[in-house]
Symmetry: C2
Subunit: 338 residues, 2 copies
């Protein structure tokens, strides 16, 4: 069997960029007629068909992509998905977003619903899911990408950041501030690999310095402000009182601030609080949160570009995006007697 010709072959023969070939095939109105004709001649000469089993043929395209996120609430995914949507809009693609409520069975149902609606490509969050979900996407040859993820799975590329390494850095910063009585508020780790990786990263840092995270000082709760405030109150009523509450995200940290204040505790003089994500909430609260800045917009735009390339039959490389430690007022030195 002869090697199939590629988009790059078409581009070379037509004397244009691969992006122009994609455009000529998928949005011909946006390409000058002379260019379009050169591309069409090259496609015909090479017998070119895109990689994805015909799915990516211009005539089969719906120019609709799907994304399934765990929740729309509390802005964790909103900024990244919004940036992805903007980038896709500029390319004439509509993004349709469904939610799974952190439920892998619901995610599988939404995947089938999106496939039934004929989407060209699908973005999923993280790694927690049964193998069947990605197998179905592979069987249907629908390009798909994992966001907020840091390893490939079943051939699906990712764009994301290392949650474990980031949480470890944050915990090291906390230790460097003299804290030893450490509590943690985590999201529910079942079916949420990001939450689990953040707990693992904190444990790693503590273990390396011989500091314990007592079992009763680690609480798993939903990403909910009220739940976090109540859990922080429970943690901060313990004797000895924790000197810092390390939180799985900024929503939990904002709730911890409310809980600490409700007990009359000053932050950071009596207790420190740190978050993760750097959503708006992180700088709206007082004191502002020491947190991990996740480049949500960069991740979302990269995801859009990668998915478009995949639909065009191109091979893409997974991308790990750097996060940044944001040192703000909610983290102070460990209180005396720590």
């Amino acid at each position: 069997m002869l090697a199939a010709s590629t988009l790059a072959d078409v581009a070379r023969l037509a004397g244009v960029s691969t992006a122009t070939v994609s455009r000529a095939l998928n949005a011909p109105a946006r390409v000058r007629q002379a260019t379009r004709e050169r591309v069409e001649a090259a496609v015909a000469a090479l017998g070119y068909t895109p990689h994805f089993g015909g799915r990516a043929l211009a005539s089969n395209r719906t120019n609709t992509f799907g994304a399934i996120i765990p929740t729309m609430e509390n802005a964790i995914f909103a900024r990244g998905i919004q940036a992805m949507e903007e980038e896709l809009s500029e390319r004439g693609v509509t993004l349709l977003v469904a939610t799974s409520h952190y439920d892998v069975a619901a995610e599988a149902r939404k995947v089938r619903a999106l496939l039934a609606r004929g989407v060209d490509a699908i973005a999923l969050i993280g790694h927690s899911r049964p193998a069947e979900t990605l197998e179905l996407l592979n069987a249907r040859r629908v390009p798909h990408l994992l966001l907020w993820a840091t390893s490939e799975a079943a051939g699906a590329p990712f764009v994301g950041f290392d949650n474990r390494a980031a949480a470890r850095r944050m915990a090291e910063l906390v230790l460097d501030h003299g804290h030893r009585r450490i509590a943690m508020l985590s999201g529910l780790t079942a079916d949420n690999d990001r939450a689990a990786a953040r707990v693992a990263g904190v444990r790693e840092a503590l273990d390396a310095r011989g500091v314990a995270l007592a079992a009763e000082n680690l609480l798993e709760i939903p990403y909910d402000l009220d739940a976090a405030a109540a859990a922080a109150v429970a943690l901060l009523r313990r004797a000895p009182r924790p000197g810092v509450v390390v939180c799985g995200n900024d929503v939990l940290a904002a709730g911890a601030l409310i809980g600490a204040k409700s007990l009359g505790l000053r932050v950071p003089a009596d207790v420190s609080v740190v978050g993760f994500d750097d959503i708006d909430l992180a700088v709206a609260v007082d004191p502002p949160l020491t947190t991990i800045r996740v480049p949500h917009r960069r991740m979302g735009r990269a995801a859009a570009q990668m998915l478009c390339a995949m639909v065009d039959g191109e091979t893409v490389e997974s991308r790990a995006i750097d996060v940044e430690l944001m040192l703000r007022g909610s983290l102070g030195r460990a209180p005396a007697g720590s």
Copy 2:
């Protein structure tokens, strides 16, 4: 022409509820066989076809609804849409969400994209759009509903609350606290009837008491924390300094708090700030925001129920939902010299 038989006629003849008829037609596996057969016999006897020109026929259903919201960011729409999604999920319907970026042309494109994907029904936000958008939905006989709205348009029912009346109540509360030097941070009112109605409500209250809202004290900005902080700084540097910043939503109010604090002003001793929406942010900031509580979850669940009924060929009544004034620490008496 004979009057067409209705879902209620079928229910009466079959001796079951209209909900059971809907279920028998749309999710037959969820209905006992004997009941299903009674319903099918009644449908056949009456020659029943649902209202929406055959769209609602069980065989035509995709069990997929669409919603188009202005933005996913900053949680304004997230809670209501999430509640709608949950209610629809319980009924076996997948909600696909697209965003318009407060752009009526983009909204029209997303409507066409959702129609092309075969959705059974569509939810839209508010009233700002060209007539053609609803005309298209009517022509296609796709049931549709307006959320965050308070009047019907082109036959489309609504579920929402009166933004103008709510903003007027908030402004009256501010006046009752002795404030006369009033500034307002509004969202961009072009293509956003909710933002415009809130400004109108504030003006109404002030006019009724003979208090001026100076033109230079009303700024329109995007719903963005940083933009709001910068705008608040501009307002609060004016002489005489406004005693209160009335904000078009909680994101703007949270930004105004940041701006006030950056000038060394105490809230509410030196300046008061009030918001609108009562999203999580409202109680996460310090002091917590005096705001209007919008029952987002109730609105979202009602929208789901209404759209399902419409797809079943039923006539629904529009619903106005009450809002609530939440009096919290960010509003104080007017500072001396006001």
